[in-house]
């Protein structure tokens, strides 16, 4: 087995991995290596041929490939090394990373710091237990996206799409442009789970029927999908009898959720959040194991690549600092490291499903703001206040025009705010993040 070391090892060359590696070099790490199991760099972006990427990061409206290759060039110019066709098989204590490489055979890498940037996977049919036969023609929307956009295959000619996630809506448009008919999109919730702009430019623009509070209750066909049955559901997701309809189709696409891919994180032994499935991190993207950081969709699923990049730049910076401390103390990164500083938990409060980071340093470790990212449980289509509070004390209070589960909310807590409250927070259990309606709220 070939042995290698480096300062910072990044697993994954999607937008998170690329930004983390780039920033690690900018922050002074000498040897930064990115491992990618695919033959190409860019993660999922090369198949995301639609636009909407980079609006904040580059003040441009780029397609997925344009965004990816811009970051690949930046990382290459910054001196990042890449190992493609290399898949990590195990992460052991150390960290010691074992991978299999098309070029090098088995490799064992002992980095000073590690960034987990493996991204996420789509929820498949097996996880949904949709009744019916098992014919060919049932795909996740992302699989169809790869087939259509990179490999040149049409996976069907008449489609039903289950789920109104962004990938499903994007594919509704894509397939229509390629001459297919999208018979219907069905969504089990009473609202869409993707961005509103996609409802307009992918579904309404092409007169594709959208059925809310509806799901697929049967798949029919022997060798190939021939039809699906759809039915309305009640608030408990139970079928409403008498609402069944049969839709003839030859393909069913599933766009019903993305799941952070954390088999390796589990193997490494980092603490995972049961709600997100991803590592628990602090405001510096550090996991429970010193020297291991995580960023991007592996932590929790983002809506916008720009936010993935922002979180990964943080991870890269702090992974580099950790690695440099280790280099300065002759190898053992924990030797000479400052004593662990106290953190407080950051917990979901009213109407919040989950929050990242799951804990943060209080008082703040430096002058940078701590970014808190979260989603609401239920949509509120009227003005709300998004707050971070510590018991009765309100640290951040931001007015938003509405709050939707499909649109992640981010709040920044200034370091000065944390310093201000640090002294008064003795006995505080942690911070709570909540979203409440403005209506009826006392005006400041």
């Amino acid at each position: 087995m070939r042995a290698m070391t480096c300062d910072v090892l990044v697993i994954g060359s999607g937008p998170a991995g690329l930004a983390a590696a780039y920033q690690a070099r900018q922050s002074g790490a000498q040897q930064v290596l990115v491992i990618e199991r695919n033959g190409e760099l860019g993660g999922i972006l090369p198949q995301c041929i639609h636009n909407g990427f980079g609006v904040r990061v580059f003040q441009s409206d780029l397609t997925g490939p344009e965004y990816a290759y811009r970051w690949v060039r930046q990382a290459q110019e910054a001196g990042v090394a890449f190992l493609t066709r290399t898949m990590v098989l195990a992460i052991e204590a150390g960290p010691r990373v074992v991978a299999t490489s098309g070029e090098l055979g088995m490799v064992e890498i002992t980095p000073r710091a590690l960034v987990l940037a493996m991204g996420c996977r789509e929820r498949p049919r097996g996880a949904l237990a949709i009744p019916g036969t098992r014919p060919a023609g049932v795909y996740t929307a992302g699989t169809a996206q790869r087939l259509v956009n990179m490999e040149g295959y049409m996976p069907g000619s008449r489609f039903v799409i289950l789920g109104s996630g962004d990938i499903g809506m994007i594919m509704a448009r894509r397939l229509t442009l390629e001459g297919a008919q999208v018979v219907a999109m069905v969504e089990i919730l009473p609202y869409i789970s993707g961005l509103r702009r996609n409802l307009v430019q992918c579904v309404r623009d092409f007169d594709i029927p959208l059925h809310l509070c509806t799901t697929v209750t049967d798949v029919r066909g022997q060798e190939r999908v021939e039809a699906v049955e759809i039915a309305q559901v009640d608030a408990r997701w139970q079928r409403v009898p008498g609402t069944e309809q049969t839709l003839e189709c030859d393909a069913l696409l599933l766009s019903v959720g993305l799941i952070p891919e954390n088999e390796l994180s589990r193997m490494a032994g980092v603490a995972l959040d049961p709600v997100t499935g991803g590592p628990m991190i602090d405001e510096r993207c550090a996991t429970s194991i010193p020297g291991i950081y995580a960023a991007g969709n592996v932590v929790h699923v983002y809506d916008l690549v720009d936010d993935v990049t922002a979180s990964a730049l943080r991870a890269g910076r702090y992974a580099a600092e950790y690695a440099l401390r280790g280099a300065a103390t002759g190898g053992a990164a924990t030797r000479g490291a400052p004593a662990p500083q106290p953190t407080v938990p950051v917990m979901p409060g009213a109407n919040v499903r989950h929050v990242v980071p799951q804990h943060l340093h209080l008082p703040a470790l430096d002058g940078d703001p701590s970014v808190v990212e979260f989603r609401v449980r239920e949509p509120i289509e009227e003005p709300v206040q998004a707050r971070v509070r510590a018991g009765e004390r309100v640290l951040v209070d931001k007015r938003l025009r509405y709050a939707r589960p499909a649109e992640m909310i981010r709040l920044e807590i200034e370091a000065t705010t944390l310093q201000q409250f640090a002294g008064q927070l003795a006995g505080v259990n942690g911070l709570q993040v909540e979203v409440v309606r403005r209506r009826g709220e006392p005006q400041p």
Partner: protein
Amino acid sequence: MAEQRQFICVTCPVGCTIDATVEDGELVQVQGQACKRGIAFVREELTAPRRTLTTTVRVRGGALPLVPVRSSEALPKGFILDIVQDLRGIILNAPVEEHQVVLRDVHGTGVDIITSRAMPSAEPV
């Protein structure tokens, strides 16, 4: 006669819901936009709606059989399906460069269709 209409702006991923009052085809009042691009969007939606086109074009001899392409800017919505049809007839020869012009000034719009990435030639087997 004043008419109330609601739009979802597609200019950026925020997708602001914009409520507009329209009188005789003229935009009288608008609210809900987070930036002035939302106002421009509603004006355009009322008169000449535009969309960015992204699709693929076939490549001969490339590492992959397709290269993704995009319109350099948003196009009049009505032309989209025609341009997709025009692109069906095109096969590019690898190697293809990033932002190579595939169709210039489509339908006299001043907008180009360009590649979104490079596509190198396939490696010899």
